[in-house]
Symmetry: C2
Subunit: 373 residues, 2 copies
């Protein structure tokens, strides 16, 4: 319902204004203004075995205006907060790059000796992006819920009814096209889903093929793609559908460490965005394939097998060290990959005929429950 969306937007604004009010209050009562923000370092990123997601640890840092080492960051945080509040009030949807340009200016001031000094609010976009991440942690709000835009890649199709901005959209009626998933998935209500599972394919071209074949109609599923490494919109949409409608999610990638990692980003979150895992991780995702052992189980002809590069092997060794690849089956798969040094693409199944992937491989793997959790 659009009403729900509006409520959310007002909540966001209120929440952001609250932080500003607290700072003003501090100043009014002559208390040194400060902000308490959880630390987003690797050392404060923890693997939570119960929830099975990457999370930010409890360690906080206090950003004080009167601490010279913190003054710049304090100023940047307040500046960015004010820009976001202004955008929300005026109904603007800036990109992170817009916010960088909007906030970039030079502050002139006189130092203790009366000398005129100049300082830029921020130099590069890295600096302003860092502050946006801090604000996400500080407010416990996702940037997209604060109306901040980014390039979104995801596509989806299936028997799904959504509502957004007063429109009711039937994602089974997109013809040869699809629904383009926006960054701000929170502004969408998922009204109804008639499907047995969600299938996420790594590759955009495979999505187009399965969509044209109407795979989702024949197999009663929701079909999605994040086109390689998924953006936050795609991840959040997959999470919401799976949780709000109690559906399993199967992920289909190429059989190589980059494909395995893409699966893990959907399921557990990424290291750099660990503070958002709770709202982005598709905890019910399962790796459907293509696994290394599938290469031999399905007897993929040698001519379709690609020799792994040294980079692939290094990546596999890295995955073996991640806490979320410590299950017996993943250890076996990754070890098999390192031993065999062989990878295949999803399309290799077309060597058995165009329909092999959609009529045999995918349904068979699901029916036999041959996925990796």
């Amino acid at each position: 319902m659009s009403s729900k969306t509006n409520t959310t937007r007002n909540d966001v604004l209120k929440h952001l204004e609250e932080i500003g009010k607290r700072i003003l209050e501090d100043i009014g009562k002559e208390r040194p203004p400060k902000l308490k923000i959880r630390v987003r370092s690797l050392s404060n990123t923890v693997w939570c075995p119960e929830e099975k997601i990457l999370k930010l640890g409890p360690r906080c840092a206090v950003r004080e205006f009167f601490n010279l080492r913190e003054t710049r960051k304090f100023m940047q945080t307040v500046l960015m907060l004010s820009l976001i509040v202004r955008a929300r009030r005026e109904g603007d949807y800036p990109t992170i790059r817009d916010l960088y340009y909007m906030g970039k200016h030079t502050i002139e001031y006189k130092d203790l000796h009366g000398k005129l000094r100049r300082e830029n609010t921020w130099e590069t976009q890295d600096e302003s992006d860092y502050i946006i991440q801090d604000i996400e942690v500080l407010t416990n709000l996702l940037r997209e819920d604060m109306g901040i835009m980014f390039d979104a890649k995801g596509r989806m199709v299936g028997k799904v009814i959504i509502r957004s901005k007063g429109n009711t959209i039937d994602l089974s009626k997109m013809g040869v096209g699809a629904f383009a998933i926006p960054p701000n998935v929170g502004d969408i209500d998922i009204v109804d889903v008639d499907a047995d599972y969600v299938l996420i394919v790594e590759k955009g071209a495979i999505f187009e093929r399965l969509n044209n074949e109407e795979f989702w109609k024949k197999h009663n599923c929701v079909l999605m793609t994040g086109k390689g490494q998924p953006d936050r919109g795609t991840r959040r949409m997959a999470k919401r559908i799976s949780e709000e409608f109690d559906l399993p999610v199967y992920i289909l990638t190429d059989s190589d460490p980059f494909g395995f990692y893409i699966y893990s980003v959907y399921k557990y979150g990424s290291i750099s965005l660990s503070y958002e895992s709770e709202r982005l991780a598709v905890t019910r995702a399962k790796f459907l394939g293509v696994s290394t052992s599938d290469i031999y189980r399905y007897k993929i002809p040698r001519k379709f097998i690609i020799k792994a590069t040294d980079r692939d092997i290094r990546r596999a060794r890295e995955l073996l060290r991640y806490p979320w690849f410590q299950s017996k089956i993943w250890k076996e798969e990754l070890s098999l990959f390192i031993k065999k040094r062989e990878k295949v693409e999803i399309e290799a199944f077309s060597g058995f005929g165009f329909k092999y992937l959609s009529d045999k491989y995918i349904p068979e793997k699901i029916e036999r429950e041959e996925f990796i959790d």
Copy 2:
């Protein structure tokens, strides 16, 4: 109408089968089988000043089965044709990579001395992709009309009604999302468009922002993005809307030679796909901005201006040599760029306020007709 689509599909199949029949006929009448295909080399790519597009010249090459230097390519062409025909008959939508895997096998034969020899149909996907391009030229059909899929990136929104697979889709009712443009735009009927122009933005993030602001509703336009270098689906959709509904198309990119080149790909086609320009070139496209002279006309503050790299300058010098950048105004713009060595991003306008781009820059440029043709 889906009927129209089906007719088209049958036509495609008939057309492809016709080529096979002619080869069979040759063999039946003991004539050496051959295929006549226009040469896709740079030397046979010509700039057509009347139509203002890049076109393939008239030079043809005859691919003869009994010419040893041509036998391999002849075999590959017939093999690829047979795969495409099979996919069309069975309603499959293979990707170019699927076709590579599907056709890859080893032919065993005995040479004149009775020695067993082996030859792969093709070694790499480059080889099979090359043959797909040849078949496009041979048949005068686009790959997407032959049901061949690829990764499509485009998004669009606006008062556009389309029909596809029996569905009627209103592209003004996508909420915060958008319509994802498929590869096979030919399978879509554009039923109605209520807009004054088509606005194509280079950057996906800007598209999301303008869509959330409902720019297309306020300014009565169709909003599209091809996310950087556009795919064929986006180009064809822009071409069709502009020609079928007699609308101007404005293209908004960053102010740098890569942005200028993206504009030229929409308008004139690309060198590597010159044989498809007639069906992909958006001849009515105009470059709205950001031009180099806009940097100074709009007095973009120095802190937002980026120093051009040597690579940018080299690229600009290349553009100056292309026949389609020979108008007085483009020569001035490119020379100004090379002299000033300065570029800006679209988002730099946010330095004047979030709404500057959508409330001032775009409408003003269009109203004053300050675009480059």
